[in-house]
Symmetry: C2
DNA sequence: AGATATATATCACTTTATGACATATGTAAT
DNA sequence: ATTACATATGTCATAAAGTGATATATATCT
């Protein structure tokens, strides 16, 4: 997702789909969580299928911060860094979700009709 | 998805999540389609957000054939190569869908509760 | 005949993801 | 107080995945 300024100054959002890993992490950051907790949440939610290791986790967090889709929510605990979605981050996640749902509908409709 | 043979000979499926692109293409192959048609379907379904170019398309088709998740459905037309999910492919897609839905639920529940 | 849309394919390059490792703190048991 | 383990963050080199540009050929339309 990048924000492009049109000639007339109106903001238009040029949409790009999130990668899987970015989506998972942002999905977890609708409420304040720190990296380690996000890793566990994703693993639990996916029944152990999706595992985001520390390398992926902290690489992606850095990227999301840079985009300003998440922010450092509470640095009070020096050991745990807690993050949360920004307003822009929520918008990006919502837009992504919309497309993800469309693709899932396509797959589910197709499987149903192929009589599985 | 890889199939692992247990000591007792029972088949157990060790699950791995599909990449986005693999998922999109497999979602399109619940009915017979050729590469070019898949590209268009994905672009249309996603309202132009997701674009799979020929490089990605044919690279991934090759990979899916190798895994035997799709097969060459009808080579009658020498110009168009039509593909379809195999039984194994359907299973993989269904399993993937299950996890995708769980992650989407997490995101939607979170967004809702964050009062957006 | 020329232009455009359809259709498949490959190559070199970029982007993204990750295993292995390093570091440090909290917590529980001996 | 020491060992051991879970928690927690971080980096680096490499692997995996994705893609823009380009090439080739056929079909369709004017």
């Amino acid at each position: 997702m990048t924000y492009v300024m049109k000639k007339d100054g109106e903001n238009l959002t040029k949409t790009e789909q999130l990668t899987d890993s970015m989506f998972y992490i942002m999905a977890a950051l609708t409420e304040p969580r720190h990296g380690y907790a996000i890793m566990n949440l994703i693993e639990e939610t996916s029944e152990g299928v999706i595992k985001i290791g520390p390398a992926s986790m902290y690489t992606i967090i850095k990227k999301l911060l840079k985009q300003e889709w998440i922010y450092l929510y509470d640095g009070s605990d020096s050991r745990r860094k807690t993050y949360l979605l920004t307003g822009k981050g929520k918008e990006v996640l919502e837009q992504d979700l919309k497309i993800r749902n469309k693709m899932i509908d396509l797959a589910m409709k197709g499987l149903k009709e192929s009589g599985k």
